[in-house]
Symmetry: C2
Subunit: 321 residues, 2 copies
């Protein structure tokens, strides 16, 4: 599984960071987009991603910096002659937003949109390779995290035990690997389930929307490999700004991640006031604040950074050359 940041700024774009967008790839082909701030399609032009391979768009909440890029992205996919149905998952106002924009701007698409309200997500198989569910967060409007979990996790044959039982590699091994029970020539019956090792843990990535209470993700994060969550401010700035915007600080997000024991934490959605360099309004300050309370693998997202989550749960950043 891997994910690539298309925007990591909160509210407004900067010269180096766009507003929110994240491309997520599961083990099967194609990709999903989580949030689609204005200019997401421009970011996509600078990656290897194609709008033809986009399977679904998940929108965490309806603030403009998370959805104003969607109409233009849909229009461009149409101009590129996309024909495959596109799933759109989000809070119900998302559909009203899109219908209104499409009607007033006479946007016709050569493909269908399949809108799935978040409340109906549980029963839908939106993606072939990833199960998706949503977790309600706390923000100025309904906001959600999406949890993506591998559906099929391969089981390996217990080769050592097969050999010890005198069963040499052959067609029986293949059947067992595929989950098919086998009757040997000597009459022994081998039930596939008995000869397959316990499956590895299915990989899980949580992508949060805007949220001032990261503790809401505590339960979900306990079994996740990666938590991607906003850290709009340092705690000092959050205290100064006050609770009105309903965002998290690096401190609060990192504390929740530490409490959940999630091994990989990726912070994003930084206020434009935070710049490179040092000082209290730097990314370094955000990072230091999080490191003070979180001992896992900590990353601060930058636009275009791509992360790979390996089968063994190791998460690595691949900074583009």
């Amino acid at each position: 599984m891997d994910f690539q940041f298309l925007g990591t700024s909160s509210g407004t774009p900067t010269t180096t960071r766009n507003v929110t967008g994240l491309a997520l790839r599961g083990p099967a082909g194609g990709w999903s987009l989580v949030d689609c701030g204005e200019g997401t399609q421009h970011r996509i032009l600078q990656t290897t991603l194609s709008l033809h391979d986009l399977r679904a768009v998940f929108v965490t909440h309806l603030h403009g910096d998370h959805c104003y890029g969607l109409p233009g992205l849909l229009a461009s996919a149409g101009m590129q002659n996309r024909t495959a149905t596109l799933a759109i998952v989000g809070p119900p106002p998302l559909w009203r937003f899109l219908e209104g924009v499409m009607a007033t701007t006479e946007l016709g698409l050569p493909y269908a949109l399949d809108f799935i309200p978040i409340a109906e997500l549980a029963g839908k198989a939106v993606l072939p390779d990833l199960a998706v569910d949503a977790i309600a967060l706390s923000h100025r409007m309904p906001s959600y995290a999406f949890r993506f979990t591998e559906r099929a996790v391969e089981r390996k044959l217990d080769a050592a035990r097969l050999r010890a039982a005198g069963i040499a590699p052959g067609p029986a091994w293949g059947d067992l690997q595929r989950g098919v029970d086998v009757v040997l020539q000597d009459g022994r019956v081998l039930r596939a389930d008995d000869w397959l090792l316990a499956p590895r843990k299915a990989r899980t990535i949580i992508v949060g929307g805007d949220n001032d209470d990261p503790g809401l993700l505590l339960d979900a994060a306990r079994t996740a490999d990666v938590l991607i969550h906003e850290a709009t401010y340092t705690e000092a700035v959050l205290q100064k700004v006050g609770p009105g915007p309903m965002h998290s600080s690096a401190l609060r997000t990192a504390r929740a991640a530490a409490a959940a024991g999630v091994p990989n934490l990726v912070l994003t959605h930084f206020s434009p006031r935070y710049q490179e360099g040092d000082g209290p309004l730097s990314l370094a300050a955000l990072e230091a604040e999080a490191r003070g309370v979180y001992g896992g693998n900590l990353f601060l997202a930058r636009d275009f950074d791509r992360y790979v989550l390996e089968r063994d749960g190791v998460c690595r950043r691949h900074v583009p050359a």
Copy 2:
């Protein structure tokens, strides 16, 4: 007067061209935006333009590549604490588009929007320094050109004739320059109007929206200094694509400009199929086609190119360093 292109691609952005947006400055301070495709605010971040100084937004028509950047631009101006009322001029669906987006995405602004439907533009003084009127074009939906004309054109004193009449430079000259009639000590009455030279021609710039019939601008262009108009295709591609999209070719636009005798023609809104270099799908091909029929000053717009229209009507391109 000057204008700067923020986007010159039709339909979808490319890696070098954004969708349509044009910044226009008159002789007074502040600036206006004509069209606001997605990513216009990102372009603005790379210029010296400030959303605080934006006086008005003019939208030629409601296709997404001309208006999908407006909600995000309005939101960012709000986050930058703009307080001045912003005029928004466009076809009536523009207001429904904005109202729908603002309602569904809970976009509140700390400044007022003054929506002026194009039909009511005639009676409004939207800009202090430029008179603006709209001319209906021909496209798949209602589309307009905006004509910007200097309001106040300074008149110079006829200094030679004043001196010949024995009236030496002094307070009387200042009064006459300001249009105030003067009674000299010798009893002579000088009417200001008699001693001011004829005003120079007011500068006029026409900015067209999408349009398959540039001849509709013939009358207006006859008295304009600059015509900025789409040339989406070469004529050969337009013939191949057919009339459905209702765009102009470089040939058709240049022919109309030649017929009107407009001294400066700036082509823009190029299909993404046209690239740098040569060959039939190059900007050079678009340029050659226009030059074949138009003998005035011809320019092909590129993103960020800024043009200055001097008081004497000379138009020059200032390519940023």
